[in-house]
């Protein structure tokens, strides 16, 4: 294809087939178009394409179809509006919560879970507090014994024999 043919066809398309506007803007190309059979054929096929596309438009004149269309639309409008994702989630949560409170099975389930929870943690709490109590009793008992024995070295880590001077130390060990 010649360069001028390509340009003419492109411009024709760009001007949407308005030959008057094309002639005004590109007189040289229009002149070429009037004499070139290749360009004329191309333009003809584009015109045919436009007609083919226009014929794709759907025209339904059957009144029964439109009657059904409107009754279907009325039925759709009568339905409640579809929920958004957030609304659906909220509703589910609400339903779940109300089921939890009002349905006997859920109620019993919740009661059992709560009981199990209380028993488990309650037992551990009591047990731990028992341990603490016994530990503290032992601690106070030991403290009392140490205090009442009157021996200051009893709890000391230092061996008394290392600290106290013996008779041999005093005499110089010469005896």
């Amino acid at each position: 294809m010649k360069k001028i043919c390509k340009k003419t066809q492109e411009k024709w398309l760009a001007f949407d087939g308005d030959i008057g506007a094309l002639a005004k803007a590109f007189p040289k190309l229009t002149e070429h178009y009037r004499t070139c059979s290749v360009c004329q054929r191309d333009v003809q096929s584009l015109v045919a394409l436009k007609h083919t596309l226009k014929a794709q438009h759907l025209e339904i004149s059957d009144p029964k179809f439109w009657g059904e269309f409107q009754s279907g639309l009325r039925a759709k409008l009568a339905q409640p509006a579809p929920e958004s994702l957030w609304e659906r989630w909220l509703r589910k949560m609400r339903d779940w919560a109300s089921a939890l409170v009002f349905q006997p099975a859920y109620r019993w389930g919740v009661a059992l879970v709560t009981l199990a929870f209380i028993s488990y943690f309650g037992f551990h709490t009591l047990h731990r507090s028992g341990e603490v109590a016994w530990d503290s009793i032992d601690f106070f008992y030991e403290s009392y014994q140490e205090a009442s024995s009157g021996n200051p070295f009893e709890t000391s880590l230092v061996d008394p024999s290392d600290v106290l001077m013996t008779e041999a130390d005093l005499t110089g060990g010469n005896e």
Binding site: D16, S45, L49, L53, Q56, E59, E68, G72, K76
Partner: protein, 200 residues
């Protein structure tokens, strides 16, 4: 009687925007009037995307339902037609994509057969109509092979006859972009149809 005719004329010359304003104020008759005005074009536009009459009908109805529900979002001074068709086109494109995905995963689906049956039921059963339907299916197939941005422009401008400005408003693109997309779309379509339809 004369008063009734005058009332009818008054309703008929009422613009879409004033009908919409009345509908926003709670006048359901204004909504019915809008449905009557736009139902044919809406079904035709939707049909160009899905090429199935039942689905096109559903899409158009859903768009009117959406219009009913979202009436408060229509702002004063806005043009009604682009707003309405934008909803319809978005809805149709979404369904088209979903259909394409389903079609991709379903090797047994034969879309052309389905389309032919649907159209034959609504249009006449004569041989001429059959040929017309075949041709329609072929052109539709060629259009469906276009990239999405070109397909919408061809459907709105060349098939449905919207102006370039209206097409731009519906698709949310400038007029210049509509022109350039049209140019490329027509070139591609011409090439495809020249191969499949002789003479086009």
């Amino acid at each position: 009687m004369r008063e009734a005719v005058a009332e009818m004329e008054k309703i008929d010359v009422e613009t879409d925007e004033s009908l919409m304003a009345r509908f926003q104020r709670g006048d359901v008759r204004a909504f019915e009037r809008l449905v009557e005005r736009y139902q044919k074009r809406a079904v035709s536009v939707a049909f160009q995307y899905v090429h199935n009459l039942e689905e096109a009908k559903d899409l158009a109805q859903d768009t009117f339902v959406k219009l009913f529900q979202a009436r408060k979002t229509f702002r004063e001074g806005e043009r009604f037609a682009p707003w309405f068709f934008r909803i319809l086109v978005n809805h149709s494109v979404n369904l088209y994509r979903r259909k394409k995905l389903v079609h991709f995963f379903s090797i047994f689906q034969n879309e052309n057969d389905e389309t032919r049956t649907n159209l034959s039921e609504t249009l006449s059963d004569t041989q001429d109509a059959e040929e017309k339907n075949d041709r329609r299916a072929l052109v539709h197939h060629a259009i469906s092979r276009l990239p999405e941005k070109y397909r919408s422009v061809v459907i709105l401008r060349d098939i449905e006859g919207f102006s370039e400005e209206e097409t731009g408003r519906i698709l949310g693109i400038p007029k210049g972009t509509v022109k350039s997309r049209l140019f490329h779309a027509r070139r591609k379509l011409k090439r495809v149809l020249e191969r499949e339809l002789r003479p086009i």
